[in-house]
Amino acid sequence: MKPKLSLLDQALVSRIIEEACQLLLKPGIKVQNAEARKLLADVGAQVDEENMVVRIPEQIVHKALETVPHEFKLYDYEGNPKVQYGGDAVHFDPGSSGISVLLPDTLEHKTAESEDLIRVLKVAESLPQYDAQSTAVVCHDVPKDLHDLYRLYLVMLYSKKPIVTGAFSNTTVHHMLDMLAIFSGGRDALRTKPRAVFDVCPSPPLIWSNFGAGQLIVLARAGVPAEIVSMPLAGAASPVTLLGSVTQHAAECLSGIVIHQLAHAGSPIVWGGAPAIFDMRKGGTPFGAIETAMIDSSYAQVGKHLGLPTHAYLGATEAKVLDTQAGLESGMGVLVGALSGINMISGSGMLDSLLCQSPEKLVTDAEGIAMAKRMIDGMKVQTEMLATGFYEGVNFKGGDFLKQKITMQLFREEQHMPGKVIDRDSMRGWRESGSMDTFARARIRVKEILASYQRPELDPIHEADLRTFVLDLAHQAGLDKLPSLEEIQLV
């Protein structure tokens, strides 16, 4: 029996979808992209060009929901399917687009550069809990024009895993698709076996910016999966009620899917988001808040009801260091996400909301992910009789179950073995191994991973083509050369 968390009953799911469709008519959706407005007008949506407000009738929404795929896969470098979007499959990737990293020695939140992203990539590559990489931090040692695509460049050089990424402009998205196509063997091959999904963000409340809608159109036509990251902020940029925010999320996603499917029917897209409640004391957006997780779980339920692949931002925290708050918030978020059957859960490694990545947190979060995965694996009926077959010869003696063959056969299936970051030692053992807390153990684990990491073997022609392509863009951005990278001799 697989456990499943449902915060909404069926009637509530229907009401959310119904009211979301009402929002698409009144007040409508602001669409700041002319091409998207034209696509909508052409199928009969009512467009107020002056105010860029579009009213989308329900039948247009239903039409889009008929053509949108219910599942798709992401592939690794070698073309093996590794991530299943759709159904109740659960995957995790590190939180993306942080601007700083936690330095373990000084606890400083240092502005991120290439070497920091590479550390994050190496750690995430080595941990099986992360089914995909993300373009985890922005590297400030390259010019702004290169920020989005340069992150992808480093991921492609240091990883073989599928990638959750996103572009920062309507120009660079084409470059990023071209980069992925170099490794896939062309744009058609990329479409058939996409390695990456691109995050695309509406702006709350109910706005598709020129950039956001532009991304939807480009990605739909490229046939590369788009992931809607709708982010209602309950009480500030969306209704204060959690259900009101879930409904706004639905309206933003539905309108996004309509634009996307109108640009190219049948292209894959994900019902995703990074909502949060709005903290009324500090004005922040707490991704570690339980209400944030409740919004995520609820909108995922709505997305599943519509038969769509799902995504959410969970497993992040507002804590600034790897402390108890970081652990409990990240752990709870990950567990809620897993129990909700969300296909891709982004956010691990993140401190200070989504601003600061930490390799040490990535290894700690991986333990939480493993626990959550064990949880959703559920209670298993392993034996014909649940217990009565175990007592022969036991004679009321504790410890005798350890001598049973079946214990040896089944303990690995019944119990998840945590890594060394989790302490289950005796007091004596703990003292003898240095009286370390979680952070100290995580630091050691990160050092071990970095020492044993080996860059994946990539086709040298692919790699050279990719470098030439990115170098050319760097030249256009006014850079003589790209930052030098350890392990890589630049051409």
Binding site: I99, S100, T111, H140, K144, S203, R281
Partner: protein, 219 residues
């Protein structure tokens, strides 16, 4: 009579604390009707409420919705009294004038609006131009109202570069240090603020008020 006046001041303060714009406007009209000096209504009545909510917020006892609603009630009361102030040729004494805006190409405004509310509550006169504002418009407004601070918000890594452009424009026109520039937004780091020669940055609205006070020499 003076007891009535005392009661009116108290009600004014309370209307701000309650965040009730209808009542604060009603009380402002009452003040005009009984020929109460408009500056007295503001400083002895409404401002007392703003200060109270500001203090409570600082203590973690009041929350943003209360602060924002108090700011709205204050704004409505002052707007009602303003024509009277003008007639008398009087002006409120403020901490200084601030122009706030989100840079061109960026439509995020929650953080900026909060900074505006906090600055107003702390005695600054805030002109919030809103989102997606080109540099020349922001600078133009700052010159028009003789502002001492421009506060520039950017939430996107793609739009933060506009902060630098505005600062360069001010330098070109020799408008600094007369006009100081505070920058803010999720992707804004101290390194960035230093690099673009901004006068300061803060990660949150409380810090922004502290910075603004420093910049006008009233910390």
């Amino acid at each position: 009579m003076s007891e009535d006046i005392e009661k009116l001041y108290k009600d004014m303060a309370q209307s701000i604390i309650d965040g009730d714009s209808d009542i604060s406007v009603e009380l402002a009209q009452k003040a005009i009707a009984i020929n109460m000096p408009p500056l007295d209504a503001i400083t002895k009545g409404f401002v007392v409420g703003v200060n109270y909510i500001g203090d409570q917020f600082g203590l973690g006892e009041a929350f943003l919705p209360e602060l924002v609603m108090a700011g709205e009630a204050m704004k409505a009361a002052v707007a009602t009294l303003e024509p009277e102030l003008l007639k008398l040729g009087e002006a409120r004494e403020t901490m200084g004038r601030v122009v706030l805006a989100t840079v061109e190409g960026d439509i995020h405004e929650i953080g900026k609006t909060l900074v505006g509310t906090m600055l107003s509550a702390s005695g600054f006169e805030v002109t919030d131009l809103g989102v997606d504002q080109p540099a020349e418009k922001i600078i133009g407004k700052a010159l028009e109202i003789n502002a001492s601070i421009i506060g520039l918000s950017a939430l996107l890594t793609t739009t933060m570069v506009r902060q630098r452009e505005l600062i360069e424009e001010l330098d070109k026109e020799n408008l600094r240090p007369r006009i100081k520039v505070m920058v803010g937004g999720a992707p804004i780091t101290r390194d960035w603020a230093t690099k673009i020669k901004a006068d300061g940055t803060s990660e949150d609205a409380v810090g922004a008020v502290k910075l603004a006070k420093e910049l006008v020499g009233k910390a």
